[in-house]
Point group: C2
Chain length 536, copies 2
């Protein structure tokens, strides 16, 4: 999420989300901290979305709900992007939001900004760079892009318009850094199709292809290869069916009549006449492919002789889940083809030479690398230097650090509140605190709960302490330890009574300290120890 | 861990462990399930260990404790392997175990077996293949190996002896499959040294090299490169200091006098005169390098201008931790060199051509691929077919599936108990059960504890229910929900009283059902709900 501000007015570019790492126990989604926008809600002219991927669009419902959907700013983007935004907002019952398709070349006035979307190529149709004109010059945010000279559908990236913007004066270029560490030019999406067909032609059994559901051009190429080889196509997985549906409506994908068959019809055709296109390329726990690999899919039962083609690479962090899925498939007896075996995937992000081409086309006054870890931001900065941008005009930023630009120059300002907020079920909030720490502790060593019941009058124990534990393993000597805990609790209570400690919180503290020490001595682990004092 | 059995007697080859995946919450180590050995303890002639890595040696203390250390079988292995086993057993206070160095070429009689260790090359000195002679022929277990023609220290793998064994008749070859998916021959360990020196020569600040502490030849090469360029060497990390100590004692590593400096002395030398060799190449949470990357190491404070060299690749599953460490280093301003940037690492496992060479040298009657996921076992089988082993003589096994061989042939028998057991702190046991499930539940959604206090006589509530929660986030409306929980608990108690439910367990069940429903209705999450009934 990027906030561009001028004359007190704001345009927000992209509203993405992240998926949690395993350390974020029990967290479903990770959103950008948008406190800054909450305070400035009335100053927002528009939200512009570069393309329909979750990491650029996914936080939209939460941002709008936070800003109050009635006063929500209008949303702008390419046709597919807006269609995906609409579907997402419908799911969240946010139906009063203004959504606008912006055509290439169209210029809109948004307060002190002019807005133009410049057509780019990426692994989803209708991807754009965002050009925000101001009186100081244009701020150009590339979104995710590659310079694909032979895209599967639609024109290549509009290099001519980028060059024109460059001649007119680009103040700041914020460019994608995802693949800056790869040298040369990325291969065109079009090269994947012939390789898929070649791989398919060597398969004798059924073929399962897994890819991102939003990669509609990839799905098109799988469909084409299947059609060329006389195989029917079945779409498996909810998001695959949904995205292909949206793609067909918008004309981004063409499927010959009679080619598609339902998941239930797969077994009506001979093995060598079927291609299944499935979700699950990232090894996601409940995805169709993962369920097939675990022999747990209601419609598709894989077997020896089937071939599974991974037409995608694992996003960093997903390697283990993907490898586990692949190995399950080998165990079943399937053959597996990954991008390491054949060129069945092409990245949607440009390589180093494309990043340099962008810099040379746009000739920005200032450069701020976007979308990448610190390593990639630094490599992007080095590429900018290599094409002649003075080092002092390149800004390697951090989330929350504003870049202030005026007639005199550019410089980082003071950090604003930023970071991550967590979505846990239906609620969102700042989990970087007590609840998350508690969960880590609970998940590491479990919990002991010790309930003592004391008389209100004199603090004496009126019932035997109750001890309950959860998530604490292997207590062969459990009975003995539970006895010790009860004895220790009684002793602590008597000591507290002698010292005239009667306040329930203080009693709890005394019990906690004594019991935690005992538990650690016996188990050499530190489960959470939770004393509960009941007064009767 | 492999069990070889003949005439009712057993030789165990290797006793390794695994490290837990993130799903194994709170688990420290994963051991092989050795129930089978427990029942057969008196039949075990010996435990033979191929080399000193944790995945081949690490479970030794647990296996011995399980078998009873007094009746424990003797342990055999190369000199370094035995030294590492001794150090490990000392830490576990298992000092009565018989440990024997076996020299290359030495033959021992172990009941119905003859035992010989064949010198191999790997990423740790004193690695061996294990040849167990029986009247049916030799069982050869390769351990981890590569055919390094120019190892840093000691002779190359004893191909001559392997060939001789092949001529005499190898019944079964169990071979390493780790790198069967890489074509060609693996590069020699010796090629790493010159590349390290080349990389070092371009560094102007301090250099930190991280590698496996047990890769003593790698440490030697770092030491040599540092010495050649006039830099002092500091060893950082407990296992690095320990392994270098053992390696020096056994003559596997030579360090020029005055080259080593203590971690506290690092700042006494100019930046361009220092190389730090550190643990943490896998991004391990408490390792020295990870702490440096988080600016949390007591002796080494990294800064812009320092270079960190990863002389290791991530073990599958560790990619995310390694990448996070690398990005932290970039954030600090360090340069980072990985095997993707320069040939500063060589694998210890042979590639496809080496696996084929092993098969051709040994000419086994039967082949059972070892050490690899299902994919690699299958690729190994394909290599065996490629060199002429009949497909019916190749056995792709699974853990616990015994291969039975006699004069008539070879075939898989019925599966024995096998799998994983978990180590949690000091205890071991079968965690695949309640405690682990509880921990997952606790870590996903937290816990509510509701304590009700009832009179023994009539079951009436005598104190307000206490409600405590942990790991449950975002309860803005917490007070309201807590009130509702108390009200619901009271109502459940009254209903139970009316229905004459007085037994504490049944009361708990009623409370649980009512409260869990309420909590789910309000939070749309399923934290653990734990009612506690106290009778006074």
């Amino acid at each position: 999420m990027t906030v561009v501000e001028h004359d007190g007015r704001i345009v927000v570019v992209d509203v993405g989300l992240r998926f949690p790492t395993p350390e974020m126990v029990g967290i479903d989604l990770v959103l950008p901290d948008f406190s800054y926008l909450r305070e400035r809600a009335s100053d927002i002219e528009a939200i512009v979305v570069t393309h329909g991927h979750e990491d650029h669009l996914g936080a939209l419902p939460w941002v709008l709900r936070e800003l109050g959907s009635r006063d929500a700013p209008p949303i702008y983007g390419g046709a597919l992007t807006i269609a995906m935004a609409r579907s997402k907002l419908d799911e969240h019952k946010l139906r009063e939001v203004e959504l606008h398709d912006v055509a290439d070349g169209e210029t809109l006035e948004l307060g002190p900004f002019s807005l133009e979307l410049v057509h780019m190529t990426h692994s989803i149709p209708d991807s754009s760079a965002v050009a925000l004109g101001t009186e100081l010059g244009t701020v150009l945010i590339t979104g995710d892009y590659k310079f694909d000279q032979t895209p599967v559908d639609g024109p290549p990236a509009d290099v001519s318009r980028l060059a024109e913007l460059g001649r007119e004066g680009v103040l700041l270029l914020c460019g994608d850094s995802t693949n800056v560490d790869r040298s040369g030019f990325s291969p065109s999406e079009s090269v994947v199709g012939p390789h898929l067909e070649e791989v398919f032609s060597r398969c004798e059994g059924r073929i399962v292809v897994t890819s991102f559901a939003s990669n509609i051009h990839r799905v098109q190429q799988v469909v084409d290869a299947a059609h060329a080889l006389g195989r029917k196509v079945a779409l498996v997985g909810r998001s695959m069916r949904k995205n292909v549906g949206i793609g067909r409506t918008l004309g981004h994908i063409e499927v010959p009549d009679g080619l598609l068959v339902g998941p239930r019809e797969i077994n009506d055709f001979p093995d060598e006449r079927v291609v299944i296109i499935s979700t699950g390329s990232q090894g996601e726990p409940l995805s169709a492919l993962r369920r097939m690999a675990h022999r747990d899919h209601p419609q598709v039962e894989l077997r020896s002789g089937d071939t599974v083609v991974f037409s995608a690479t694992p996003i960093p962090g997903n390697e283990r889940a993907v490898n586990e899925t692949i190995d399950r498939l080998y165990h079943i007896g399937c053959d597996v083809i990954t991008p390491a075996d054949a060129p069945v995937h092409a990245s949607g992000h440009g390589y180093a030479e494309e990043v340099k081409l962008m810099l040379n086309l746009v000739k920005p006054r200032y450069v701020m690398p976007f979308h990448g870890d610190f390593k990639r931001l630094r490599l992007h900065a080095q590429l900018a230097e290599a094409v002649g941008v003075p080092p002092e005009d390149i800004f390697q930023g951090e989330n929350g650090l504003p870049l202030d630009i005026d007639e005199r120059g550019a410089r980082f300002g003071a950090a604003e509140q930023s970071g991550m907020i967590f979505v846990d079920g239906v609620e969102i909030g700042d989990m970087a605190d007590v609840a998350l720490r508690d969960r880590r502790m609970l998940s590491a060593d479990g919990i002991f709960i010790v309930v003592v019941t004391i008389a209100e009058q004199d603090g004496s124990s009126v019932a035997e302490p109750e001890v309950i534990f959860r998530g604490v393993p292997f207590i062969d000597e459990a009975d003995e330890l539970l006895d010790e805990i009860r004895t220790t609790a009684d002793r602590s209570l008597r000591r507290a009574a002698k010292e005239e400690i009667r306040e329930v919180d203080l009693l709890g503290q005394v019990l906690h300290d004594d019991l935690a020490k005992l538990v650690y001595d016996r188990l050499k682990r530190r489960p959470m120890v939770l004393p509960v004092v009941v007064e009767v």
